[in-house]
């Protein structure tokens, strides 16, 4: 007779039904919340039961097995072979893993030495972004912005600390998302954030840029110095990737009469989340420029993989000593004066089943207002 089996559950679940990164609002409990990659791990995975239940199940099994004897064999009905319809029956974390696989298949990057040093990112063999590595003189100059923005720390504290993980509640607030009505929308947001985080880490790893507080003793950030390079900003990447996907989703819903205002406030939110990292003392404005650019591309890749995207513009960013503002970033002639240029090339990517399934589910969640 088996004794106390089971796993006692995975750590950091925060319970069933709406507290995990996908089921509703708020990140997961525990350390997974702060890495930016924990959005899916363990959601809808009950693990094992507690020891007493496990024991009770086995004694019950022994006591009732006799009632199953003597019946006919049940018919076998097969699940669909490589069928997107089975996706709905999977645990959320399993779909999370599939989204990661679909996003990362075909991702490529290159580190190009020279003057300047560059890192590129590509999908399906097509380069979408080239980032030039900022030199230390530029980083030192940028430290003054980090110092100037520190005056906002007191009033932005609550935002900064609650945005250490994925800032999903902030996006939810702008669109009035509901955990019962918008399960697929939440899943899409989290999948996008996870994809953005992976993309950012690949590029950060090549460029290896020190954080502002590592260069300048005066900056004393209000949150722990993150364990990865500064340029580009993962928060900016995630925020702008989600922004890009939500802009497309609002357009596809075509159900919000105040759509333009929602999009305007989402843009303001992406900027605010991004700039909050400079306020906190862990990013230069050039990190925000690079992250916003990468984020927009990641968003477009997600949309392409979902079968809903349009052409992805190939971008090059040569960081220069400027502050970051969303209006500058999205206005072509201003942006190019600040180092961000479109090469003129563009490309599309093939769609993939899990993302496509997710997208149609999210589109179907339009509120009729």
């Amino acid at each position: 007779m088996a004794q106390y089996g089971g796993l006692g559950g995975l750590g950091g679940l925060g319970g069933l039904g709406g507290l995990g990164g996908l089921g509703g609002l708020g990140g997961l409990g525990g350390s997974t919340n702060f890495t930016g990659l924990g959005g899916f791990l363990g959601v809808e995975d009950p693990g094992g039961h507690d020891p007493m239940t496990t024991h009770g199940l086995q004694t019950t099994a022994e006591g009732l097995r006799h009632l199953t004897e003597g019946g006919t064999m049940p018919t076998d009905q097969e699940l669909g072979f490589s069928d997107p319809n089975t996706l709905g029956g999977l645990a959320t974390w399993v779909r999370g893993s599939l989204y990661v696989s679909e996003f990362l298949a075909g991702i490529g990057s290159e580190a190009i030495d020279g003057t300047p040093q560059k890192a590129t990112l590509s999908f399906d063999g097509q380069t979408c972004l080239t980032l030039h590595r900022p030199g230390t003189h530029l980083l030192r100059a940028q430290c003054r912005f980090v110092s100037d923005y520190a005056t906002l720390r007191a009033e932005r504290s609550a935002e900064i600390t609650s945005q250490l993980g994925f800032p999903t509640p902030y996006f939810a607030m702008m669109l009035g998302l509901h955990s019962a009505q918008n399960t697929k929308t939440f899943e899409l947001i989290t999948a996008t954030q996870v994809a953005a985080a992976h993309a950012a880490m690949i590029v950060k790893n090549h460029l290896a840029i020190r954080r502002p507080d590592q260069l300048d003793a005066r900056l004393m950030p209000m949150i722990p110095t993150p364990g990865h390079g500064s340029f580009p900003s993962a928060h900016a990447t995630e925020a702008y990737a989600v922004l890009t996907v939500l802009e497309a989703l609002i357009t596809a819903w075509d159900s919000l009469s105040d759509g333009p205002q929602r999009i305007a406030v989402l843009r303001g939110l992406a900027e605010r989340i991004t700039v909050n990292r400079t306020v906190a003392g862990v990013h230069y404005p050039i990190d925000s420029w690079a992250g916003a650019t990468l984020g927009k591309i990641v968003g477009q890749v997600v949309l392409n993989r979902a079968g809903a995207g349009s052409a992805i513009d190939v971008m090059t960013y040569t960081p220069d000593d400027h502050d970051f503002f969303d209006e500058d970033h999205r206005t072509g002639n201003i942006a190019s004066g600040m180092g961000l240029t479109a090469t003129g090339d563009s490309f599309t990517l093939d769609s993939k089943p899990a993302f496509s399934w997710l997208w149609s589910g999210a589109v179907a969640e339009a509120q009729k207002v």
Binding site: Y149, T151, D326, E327
Partner: protein, 685 residues
């Protein structure tokens, strides 16, 4: 860029730097307070300097509020310019205003803030008593004037022993007007009207305020301020004039009558300090006028009056000579001729520790020049203003001002001579230069000889937060300003004073302002804990309410009860250093110091909230001033002088200037929660 206009359409032909900045769409107007930003300004307040008659023209109807003065040297008025189309866009409006000033024969008029046309009664019964007005039940032994925002006139604290209101009149300057009124704009509530509101609505005070137009969502200058748990006006009026357990002070008797004026919200909102003098001066003239009207209903002898005006700005000339201060001083001095018991109580302000003032004398100049930093913060949604005041009655010869933007901002450095522009003939000598970034205007540097007797350099900058629709934005960070005195150095004993304008949001109106501050470029070490700050160029001494420097103003500083030391933020008189290196208070000594904080862990003072039965705490010299007002009123009631019973702080020795500058000579005893202790009521020493 300030486009070319014809002479009489150039607003700067008639106006000083603030008006030019605030009213021009190409300059600061898009960032101005809503009353101006949303324009156009068909109805606008203004001041006239000097003697003369104000007369209507074909296009302009003029109204003068109830005055006490017969021949004021500054006349507040309001005008309706029917030539301005209310539906028009604001872009050309500075030209319209210029034309209007041209028609009025211009340079003695100074435009102030616009008012909402809905606050303009069709008929202004000038000089008449308010309709339905009744005098108080008996002749008051003292009248307490309260000028503030969000005044809860129905609050139980302001009732007498018969449960009738002690407020004889309350002027809501920004409320929708009735068809006819004895005030030129807004609404005047009589004691009868207040009592009737209570009769009709009982305890439902919010409902009553709505019915009275004191809560009015659609009128931004009134808005829903009274729906907050507490307003500045509630807290201050509670201490100055209220009987309530939450204040806990010794009671004021029934014949301590109240006259109240509620200012428009812009007065709290706006960060320029510009454009409010007409409203403020009207409020004071009105209270004096109505106090006389009450006296005339009895034996005609003017009644002891103490007015609490807990407002302030940080910039301004600080020598008592601004129009508002001269006007107010004239009023007080004239009234004291027949009624010596007349006081205007004002706080010293709360900016001592905010690095909003600097003073440079000859000893701080290097090769004839001095420099300082001005730090502009990010995400500031309101304009920022800096004023540099030269010594009075002196024309600088060959002085220049140079503004250097933050490193890497892309804005070129600019210089300007501190001299008059010969093209601007009428009015004060002045000159304007625009600060630009990528061809778009982000600021205005000006020099003007204010009221033709004292040169001022002013730098106005647009917000540092982005407004995508406008596309102009000031770079964040450290701006450096240099004054070069050339061959005309500062004489010994003279100094240049710099003030940064207030840019915070004390009433939580959501302005999005961020306070800028000054930087000592020499980076002196800060004082040690418990050590008195040194007289470095950037200093708290001289950080004082910029509208409270009239000689006869009763200035109140703040101290902490548990330590008897000045509150960290309490504004201070300015200090000069003599030739023998001794410091000396040189101007604007506080009259008294009063409790502003009860202790380190009980900051501020307790008082009422907006609704009867609610309480609040507010921190600041405003509340300290209100305690002084109340005790002055109690003194006047018993026929004693204003400061009777106040402790003389330095009977035996002259204190060091830096101590005296923050306290004045008298300490006001505790007021709040005194009636809750088993002590005899307040009597003079």
């Amino acid at each position: 860029m300030f486009p070319h206009r014809h002479d009489h359409e150039r607003i700067d032909k008639y106006t000083g730097p603030y008006e030019r900045w605030i009213f021009s769409q190409d300059l600061g107007r898009p960032f101005a307070f809503p009353a101006i930003r949303n324009g156009p300004s068909t109805h606008i307040t203004a001041l006239m300097e000097g003697d003369g008659m104000l007369a209507d023209t074909d296009d302009v109807t003029i109204r003068i509020p109830p005055l006490w003065s017969e021949r004021p040297n500054v006349t507040p008025f309001v005008m309706w310019n029917t030539a301005i189309d209310p539906e028009a866009l604001v872009t050309g409006e500075d030209a319209e205003l210029a034309r209007c000033l041209h028609a009025l024969n211009g340079s003695r008029y100074r435009l102030n803030m616009p008012i909402d046309p809905r606050t303009w009664p069709e008929t202004y019964a000038e000089g008449a008593a308010p309709q339905g007005w009744t005098p108080p039940k008996t002749k008051p032994r003292v009248i307490i004037g309260v000028i503030d925002d969000g005044i809860p006139f129905l609050h139980r604290a302001f009732r007498d022993s018969a449960d009738d209101t002690r407020i004889n009149l309350c002027w809501l300057q920004a409320a929708r007007a009735n068809a006819s009124a004895a005030v030129p704009f807004g609404k005047e509530l009589t004691s009868g009207a207040i009592n009737r509101l209570r009769l009709e609505h009982g305890d439902h005070e919010l409902q009553a305020y709505r019915a009275a137009g004191a809560i009015d969502r659609d009128v931004p200058e009134i808005d829903t301020v009274l729906m907050h748990h507490v307003t500045h006006g509630a807290h201050i009026a509670g201490i100055a004039a209220g009987n309530d357990p939450f204040v806990g002070a010794h009671s004021l008797p029934d014949d301590a009558v109240i006259l109240a004026v509620q200012l428009p919200n812009t007065i709290a909102w706006d960060t320029s300090g510009f454009g409010k003098e007409m409203m403020m001066l009207s409020a004071i003239e009105y209270i004096f006028n109505r106090a006389r009207m009450i006296a005339q209903a009895f034996d005609g002898e003017e009644i002891p009056l103490v007015v609490n005006f807990s407002y302030g700005w940080s910039a301004n000339r600080h020598d008592g000579k601004s129009s508002f201060e001269r006007a107010v001083d004239q009023l007080i001095v004239a009234r004291r001729a027949t009624q010596p018991c007349t006081e205007l109580v004002m706080p010293t302000g709360n900016n001592f520790a905010k690095k909003m003032h600097a003073r440079f004398s000859a000893r701080e100049t290097t090769e004839g020049a001095f420099r300082f930093g001005w730090h502009l913060k990010p995400d500031d949604r309101t304009s920022s203003y800096l004023e540099i005041w030269l010594p009075p009655d002196r024309d600088p010869r060959g002085w220049t001002v140079t503004v250097t933007p933050p490193t890497g901002s892309g804005v070129p450095e600019l210089s300007m001579p501190i001299t008059a522009d010969p093209d601007l003939e009428d009015g004060d000598p002045r000159r304007f230069v625009e600060v630009e970034k990528d061809g778009a205007n982000i600021g205005q540097l000006s020099a003007d000889k204010h009221l033709d007797n004292r040169w001022r350099v002013m730098l106005a900058m647009t917000p540092s937060a982005g407004f995508p629709a406008i596309g102009r934005r000031t770079p964040v960070g450290l701006w450096t300003i240099k004054i070069d005195t050339g061959d005309d150095p500062l004489p010994n004993g003279a100094h240049v004073d710099i003030w940064v304008q207030r840019d915070d949001d004390p009433s939580q109106l959501g302005t999005g302002g961020q306070q800028s501050h000054l930087v000592d470029l020499d980076r002196p070490e800060p004082p040690r804990p418990l050590e008195r700050p040194a007289l470095t160029p950037v200093r708290g001494y001289g950080c004082l309410n910029g509208i409270g420097t009239a000689p006869s103003a009763f200035r109140v500083a703040g101290y902490m009860l548990s330590t008897l030391k000045p509150s960290d933020y309490s504004g201070s008189a300015s200090v000069a250093v003599n030739a023998d290196d001794t410091p000396q208070v040189d101007a604007n000594l506080p009259t008294v110091t009063a409790t502003a904080d009860q202790g380190w862990f009980r900051p501020g003072l307790p008082s009422i909230g907006t609704l009867s039965g609610s309480g609040s705490r507010i921190v600041g010299t405003s509340a300290a001033a209100a305690t002084a007002t109340r005790l002055i009123a109690l003194n006047f009631l018993s026929g004693r002088p204003a400061c009777d019973g106040f402790e003389t702080l330095y009977p035996e020795f002259a204190p060091e200037a830096r101590i005296l500058a923050r306290t004045g000579h008298f300490r006001v005893p505790e007021v709040c929660q005194q009636a809750l202790k088993r002590k005899p009521p307040f009597v003079g020493a």
